[in-house]
Subunit: 391 residues, 2 copies
């Protein structure tokens, strides 16, 4: 069992009709706010108007940054940071899903950077010691960005998608109202749910290190929560109980509650980021296609017992099976959940992806170190083989 340091300063307003506190919470951090959002869905659900009314009532000066992309781009970050510097913005307000929040974290850091290109910070060419404060209103249960310090930004010029943790980048306050996710499509609901599960798999559960027993059990309950409620929300978007459970599960998956000192390379996420970087696909869908193939690829006498345990405790696999049989049944159950129950297409070829860039993507996924070290160690050749299993 490892040592760990835990701290999470984000204040959460969870539930219906909590937005009346938004103006006062934003105003705690200053007078000038940059209000970032995505493609306009927040206008369709009336959230934009409610946010604007809150900011106006609090007497704030508002600058807008609309159009943050689903895989947010460093050029958009640069644009936001430029506004912050020019106007002396005090606080960022992200209204949207993980992409908008991630973009705001990178803006918050770039606004404190003497240079102008956020990519310098993403690559580590330059660093900052502080960020502007961020408040969020979440509209998608998926990335956990509403309660962590990380962000993932894409550079479409170089086909790079990089993740980083900036100092003090945890949102100061996040508003989690499940009704704001009622209009999320079945496809995005399914993809977001896979993302939640994958965070738990990648950063904690599937590890070769020993975990604290309590936390592994709790991880299984959060996974079970997704398995129970994702199908409900896919079927009926207005189911409050399902949306609420998924929303809080998403935050828990990455907010550190489940962390106990295991540090690993989040293999599936690293591999999927290459797919999203090269093909701009939905992150969670890429994870759904990759995860069962990755588990099949890494299946061995060493890894089988834990995969079997996952199957037994989360997917309802028969406990009487042996380790290898049980692990195979667990992977099959996960495939059935992703591609049957949640209705996601199961192959990269379904998304128009062929093997053109597999070798390049596999090499990039393994980074400068040349391997991904998580549940097992993967080389570029391993990653390429996993890609081929997904065709």
């Amino acid at each position: 069992m490892n040592n760990f340091i835990f701290v999470n300063p984000t204040k959460i307003y969870f539930g219906k009709d909590q937005l009346q506190s938004l103006g006062a919470e934003v105003a705690r951090f200053g007078k000038k706010v940059l209000f970032a959002y995505g493609g306009g869905s927040i206008k369709r659900i009336g959230l934009y108007d409610r946010v604007v009314a809150q900011l106006a009532a609090a007497g704030l000066t508002v600058f807008e940054l609309p159009g943050v992309e689903p895989n947010p781009r460093h050029t958009t970050v640069n644009k936001g940071a430029e506004i912050c510097k020019r106007e002396g913005v005090d606080v960022l307000l992200a209204v949207g899903g993980g992409s908008t929040i991630d973009a705001c974290k990178a803006i918050a850091a770039t606004a404190k950077y003497e240079g102008t290109d956020s990519w310098d910070l993403m690559t580590g060419k330059a660093s900052v010691t502080d960020t502007l404060p961020i408040v969020t209103v979440l509209t998608l249960a998926a990335t956990g960005s509403e309660m962590d310090g990380g962000c993932v930004i894409s550079n479409v010029g170089t086909n790079d998608k990089l993740g980083i943790f900036f100092p003090n980048a945890h949102p100061r306050v996040s508003f989690l109202d499940p009704t704001n996710t009622f209009t999320v499509s079945p496809y995005q609901t399914a993809s977001g749910s896979v993302d939640i599960m994958s965070h738990i798999f990648d950063v904690a559960y599937f590890s070769r290190e020993d975990e604290m027993d309590m936390l592994r059990r709790i991880q299984e309950e959060v996974l079970s929560t997704v398995v129970k409620f994702a199908p409900v929300a896919v079927k009926d978007g207005n189911d409050y109980e399902a949306r609420a459970n998924l929303m809080w599960a998403a935050s828990w998956a990455l907010n550190g509650f489940l962390f106990d000192g295991i540090v690993q390379d989040a293999a599936c996420h690293a591999i999927e980021h290459e797919l999203s970087a090269f093909y701009d696909i939905t992150h969670g869908h890429g994870l759904a296609i990759l995860t069962p193939r990755w588990l099949t690829y890494v299946l061995s006498d060493e890894t089988a017992p834990l995969i079997k345990r996952f199957g037994e405790r989360v997917m309802g696999v028969d406990p009487s099976l042996g380790p290898m049989e049980g692990a195979k049944a667990a992977i099959a159950a996960l495939e059935e959940f992703f591609f049957g129950t949640l209705g996601l297409k199961s192959r990269l070829s379904d998304l128009g992806i062929d093997d053109t860039h597999f070798a390049t993507m596999a090499k990039k996924a393994c980074g400068e170190k040349g391997t991904l070290d998580s549940f097992t160690t993967l080389t570029p050749a391993d990653v390429e083989a996993i890609f081929r299993m997904c065709l």
Copy 2:
């Protein structure tokens, strides 16, 4: 399902050999520190010397407050606050269990109070808007005080034991090293473990309101963690895995992770506080005696399904039993766990308590409102009946 607000700013260092960060963490808050501890056990395990070395290396000026009682007294709090005011103390360091930490929270508030009697703040006769910062080094897995904002203080003059949440009273930093609990006696280990379980029962699990499914499941896993590891730690105090799981379970039981907006009167705790106030018994032992009798007293067609679910998911009760049978089996299993496995004496008379003060204690437990509203509503007559079941 209720709305809720979650925030927990405490930074946790969890694990072995983390104390090398203590000096720097305390020094973040100032130069003058009040170092509070209990009866001297921290000297026997060498922790006192390690703490003093850390504080000296950080160049801090240290004032000591030894002898904080197991049920900490308001007179001790007054003494600590007087030192803080006289010496201009910047930060409090509590090294011990929940009692020492609770005392420091009350000292931290009283140091900011223009009056001199902490009891004014405990009773609400006066209030404060701020507290001195607190750092803790935990030596007992039980109360959760290391990661929450509450404290419980006793007035031996009036036989009162009152709890309150002070503003900003969450410890800023807490050091949770399971090895610091290796020498905790089997009796205190058992009592602390009951306290952990009772926190989950009292503030969340046994409720007449609907809970978020994910959180109820997680509560069951934290309870199961205690049921699994408390007997191990009682048998072998040096079992790191058991001590680590219990330590983190104790913090989780009250740090807000398991909270989803249900507000109730924590009936068993309210009732037990009267026992500790009148007889100065170990809080967790009082809870062990009370809890199964309380559950038996409140058992009805309404409450049976949830008690049965607890039995099934935490105590290994046969799922095929009907609600009432299952609930009775759950209570029986809990009694066997407390009084058999953990070896705690099962009756108030075993602790030298008779019915002399039952009527008075029952009335005080129900407070000014006259009832305790949790899983069911209890009047003083109900509480007195529960006391009699414990004789």
